[in-house]
């Protein structure tokens, strides 16, 4: 791989005074944006053609992980299968930057792969981080992976992997194929042996955008926190710029009618989009896998937070002995400072299985930067079980049923305040694309919920959109629940 001369020069000229800092990566990104985009070169064909099983057979040797003396350890992925674009990984230590070269002795290879054919300077596909919690040395738990395009996924140490994040989403959910910028180079700052925090930098490159990222990473038993500083440069005008993107999977849930070949009650990595807006409103949008791509936009000033959550935590509702959906994390994004006006966009793509991510959420700023101008923004990512824990009655389930012509849509809110009765509450319900025929609110002690049941006659051919919340003494008692149902797709006979 070529290394742009500017950085080399910078490092050569003033290593001691400069050391390594975020500005180095920002400068790299700026310079990169000023030159034409170059696709990464191909990897050798015999690696390119690995299938999933073969690729799984390429295993990093645990004892070759970086930093055996520290709490953090780094393991690498070899290129191949879907991960064809090599990335360069550097370690920053003692005011020095050194590149970690691909070394075939890091890996064991399955039969049929001749390690001697691997070219020098191949680069890695990505890397993952392990962490020894204090008091549990040698119990290294994996908690963060950077692998493929600008994807990364994290988890609290006690949880499983689920949804992913990306550096940036460019023109997602539009009519043309989405360009996927990718992290092409990383700088991992070697942590002190006892440190519980580590820092990583990443350079983003794509046909439309470049960027510099700093991740400050704090793993924990129940939560992984990552503070992100990002600077983007546009190579050209971008029709839709998605910041802090989340990518997840929602196949079907408790309220849906499950496909015939599936025996499990629910299959999803996330079940809803939660938004905490600047006015302190909490809005929950239940996810849905339906017949066509659906884009939902929530326009607002900078929100206090948004994220894709996995609220259903009961194995009983998943029943998978392998996938552990009940242990998959929620991911909550908290903008730091003012991101200005914009909108949260939720893109729902139909899927017929659980192996394709089909839910994307991100922030689209109203003002896109001019090309050449940096867009700097910061946010915190919280990977934990339940997201931020809103103070209001949370939406815990959305259910649907069909009547002859009408639809029954049910929202269930976790019921606190056992003293309240349904007569003391008010409902605030808005229905677009249909006629609300009947409303019923009841407390169900057996489920521990307030259950709002709506019977709606959908307007033919229109998208049905519903918004509802519970009020007590005129103040919101619950989150605002929203849901959308597409009209049936007309198919030509």
């Amino acid at each position: 791989m070529r290394r742009p001369a500017a950085v080399l020069l910078a490092v050569l000229i003033c290593p001691a005074a400069w050391g390594f800092s975020y500005h180095v990566v920002v400068d790299r990104a700026r310079d990169l944006a000023g030159s034409p985009y170059q696709k990464p070169g191909p990897i050798p064909e015999f690696l390119d053609h690995l299938d999933y099983t073969q690729y799984q057979g390429v295993k990093f040797k645990r004892d070759r992980a970086l930093w055996p003396q520290a709490r953090f350890h780094v393991q690498f992925f070899s290129p191949g299968y879907l991960y064809k674009d090599p990335v360069q990984v550097n370690v920053v230590a003692d005011n020095d930057i050194h590149r970690i070269a691909y070394d075939p002795t890091y890996f064991t290879y399955p039969d049929g792969i001749d390690a001697s054919r691997i070219p020098p300077n191949l680069g890695f596909a990505g890397f993952r981080l392990h962490y020894d919690p204090p008091g549990q040395p040698d119990d290294a738990k994996e908690f963060l992976v950077f692998l493929g395009a600008s994807y990364f996924r994290g988890r609290a140490l006690s949880m499983d992997y689920g949804l992913s994040a990306r550096g940036a989403a460019i023109e997602t959910g539009m009519d043309h194929p989405e360009p996927f910028p990718r992290f092409t180079e990383f700088w991992l700052v070697r942590p002190a042996p006892n440190a519980g925090i580590m820092t990583a930098y990443a350079l983003l490159n794509g046909s439309n955008v470049t960027g510099a990222f700093r991740f400050t990473i704090r793993p924990g038993q129940d939560v992984l926190r990552m503070d992100v500083v990002a600077t983007l440069f546009l190579r050209r005008e971008v029709a839709k710029l998605g910041l802090a993107p989340l990518t997840s999977m929602y196949f079907y849930g408790i309220g849906d009618h499950r496909p015939p070949a599936y025996l499990r009650p629910e299959i999803h990595d996330s079940d809803g989009l939660l938004i905490h807006d600047a006015d302190n409103q909490w809005l929950w949008r239940s996810l849905r896998n339906q017949g066509e791509v659906t884009i939902t936009r929530f326009a607002m000033p900078t929100p206090q937070g948004f994220g894709l959550l996995q609220r259903e935590r009961d194995f009983d509702n998943y029943q998978s002995l392998h996938a552990h959906y009940q242990d998959r994390p929620s991911l909550w994004i908290m903008p730091t400072g003012d991101w200005g006006k914009g909108q949260i966009e939720l893109v729902e793509i139909p899927t017929a299985d659980e192996y394709h991510d089909n839910m994307v959420a991100f922030w689209v700023p109203e003002q896109s930067p001019q090309s050449g101008e940096p867009l700097r923004y910061c946010y915190r990512m919280v990977w934990n079980a339940n997201g931020p824990g809103s103070p209001l009655a949370r939406v815990v389930a959305t259910r649907t049923a069909e009547r002859k012509t009408a639809k029954v849509v049910i929202a269930e809110f976790a019921a606190g305040e056992p003293s309240l009765t349904h007569q003391q509450l008010q409902t605030d319900i808005q229905v677009h694309g249909g006629k609300l025929l009947h409303t019923r609110l009841r407390r169900d002690p057996a489920y521990g919920v307030w259950r709002l049941t709506l019977r709606i006659l959908p307007t033919r051919g229109e998208r049905l959109r519903i918004r509802a919340r519970l009020l007590h003494d005129g103040k919101p008692l619950s989150e605002t629940w929203t849901y959308a149902i597409q009209p049936p797709i007309k198919r030509n006979p």
Binding site: R264, P265, L321, A401
Partner: protein
């Protein structure tokens, strides 16, 4: 008129009692008198009780249910056991006779309109003076010492149902099922008279008798009811055959299965399950326990489980998780009912009939015992059994149990089943224990089978995919698990319908 034939029977019965028994002339009224009534009745042809006045028969359910005999006006107000009555009317158009037995004497308890609270404007006038009763409820301090809650109800044909503590009414039992599922049509015997034996004020059990009548059979029934966490009813029945019947269904149970937690829910359903019973459990004299999960089948379907001797059978509501059911119906609190014969009922079969229903308001499941030996006209037979009404699992088998069944359909048409087994000898076994699935199929092919440890239930999950040999076949699939060559679970048993 209603009164005369019954009075005549009572007289004849008393006469028979005096003439034929060694008991002293002042013999207390008891079961034997009801038996003699049934015997006498069987010698004449069946005459249904005259119906109520037409306007009462025309009442809707909503009108009828608001004619209420309130608990505050129950019979025997100072006793543990109290009684309230249902008025005849609506579908219950043939009144039943009620007798109270006190101090060994049976006394007719005539219809008393003043027992009922109702709005005459809503039912087209006051209750007719001789309207009659449709049935009754028994109240008992079942759940709290100071509150009389319903523990049993006898209403309509030979139907009755009972509750253990903390439960809500679900499945029903009947005195007798005749020709159920036969093309010639089912005969519904009716209890036409009841004798309620007044128990002492502090009694913890109560006895009542009932006279059963139908085209083909008569019978005398004794129920001794012990309320509690498990409400146990001891039943003795003496049957007299007027005519030959095709199917003599003993100890029948009637229930409803629309859909369950492991099924694909119907379009109209918003919640995973709606059923009063989840499965039929059978205990054979060989020691085998068979679990047949109920379905809402695509067609009327009858199964026979042939046994040399019956130890017990019942319709079970095993799944007690509230969130697995539609709310507000208390499906998770519906009782199971377990039938246990006293003495040897001989060879026969448990018959299970299920038929398709469009919603949860209709019963679609019937189970009963059919003895191999028929009852020929003029013959009589006495049998005794207990019905235990309680939460979940009246009888705990020593074997691992079926916890859940999940179903699906492969795109190529094979039906997929996941069967979760746990408990009994499976409990505490290491994850690598040598568990062997024993799978048999008739009329189909196993296209896939795999066994997985299920840590969540401290048990195992068996996945089986079955393809019918041809589209008209309904394979019979039976599955159990063995450990070290020994059967350690119930037999999971299923008719495989196409989706």
């Amino acid at each position: 008129m209603i009164v005369r034939p019954q009075a005549a029977i009572l007289l004849s019965l008393l006469g028979a009692g005096w003439a034929g028994c060694h008991a002293p002339p002042a013999a207390a009224f008891g079961y034997q008198q009801v038996v003699e009534q049934a015997r006498t009745l069987s010698k004449s042809s069946y005459k249904p009780a005259p119906p109520v006045p037409e306007r009462m028969a025309d009442l809707t359910f909503e009108q009828w249910r608001w004619i209420v005999h309130t608990r505050a006006h129950a019979l025997w107000p100072d006793s543990n056991f109290q009684v309230t009555f249902f008025p005849a009317g609506y579908l219950f158009e043939h009144p039943v006779k009620i007798y109270l037995v006190e101090d060994g004497k049976a006394r007719h308890f005539g219809f008393d309109p003043s027992l009922f609270q109702y709005n005459p404007d809503k039912i087209g006038g006051p209750l007719p003076a001789h309207n009659g009763y449709a049935g009754f409820r028994l109240l008992y301090p079942l759940n709290r010492p100071e509150t009389h809650d319903e523990v049993a109800s006898f209403l309509g044909a030979s139907y009755f149902r009972m509750l253990g503590a903390g439960e809500a009414y679900g499945l029903s039992a009947r005195g007798l099922a005749i020709d159920t599922g036969e093309k010639s049509g089912e005969e519904f015997p009716v209890f036409r008279a009841f004798w309620l034996v007044r128990p002492p004020a502090d009694a913890i059990q109560m006895t009542l008798y009932a006279l059963l009548d139908s085209e083909s059979m008569t019978g005398a029934y004794r129920f001794v009811i012990h309320p509690g966490d498990n409400t146990v009813s001891e039943v003795t029945a003496t049957l007299f055959a007027r005519k030959q019947v095709k199917t003599l269904g003993l100890a029948p149970l009637t229930s409803m299965y629309f859909h369950g937690y492991g099924d694909h829910k119907p379009e109209r359903a918003a919640f995973p399950g709606a059923h009063d019973s989840g499965g039929l459990l059978i205990h054979s004299a060989s020691g085998e326990w068979i679990w047949r999960g109920l379905t809402n089948p695509p067609v009327v379907w009858i199964d026979h489980f042939s046994l040399p001797q019956l130890r017990g059978f019942g319709l079970m509501q095993r799944d007690r998780v509230a969130e697995h059911y539609a709310p507000g119906q208390r499906y998770a609190q519906r009782p199971s009912a377990w039938i246990e014969p006293k003495g040897d009922w001989g060879p026969g079969n448990v018959e299970l009939m299920q038929f398709p229903i469009p919603n949860e308001t209709v019963d679609n499941t019937v189970a009963f015992w059919v003895p191999d030996q028929p009852l020929t006209p003029g013959q009589s037979r006495r049998l005794s059994y207990t019905i235990t009404w309680q939460a979940g699992q009246p009888i705990r088998s020593p074997l691992g149990r079926v916890i859940h069944t999940f179903v699906g359909t492969e795109p190529e048409g094979a039906r997929m089943f996941w069967i979760d087994f746990a408990g009994g000898p499976l409990a505490g076994l290491p994850a690598d224990a040598a568990i062997e699935p024993m799978v048999t199929v008739q009329g189909g092919t196993i296209v896939k089978q795999s066994l997985s440890r299920n840590d969540k239930i401290d048990g195992w999950r068996l996945a089986v995919h079955v393809l019918a040999k041809d589209p008209d076949q309904r394979p019979l699939l039976r599955v159990r698990l063995a450990h070290d060559g020994k059967v350690v679970t119930e037999t999971w048993d299923r008719i495989v319908f196409p989706r």
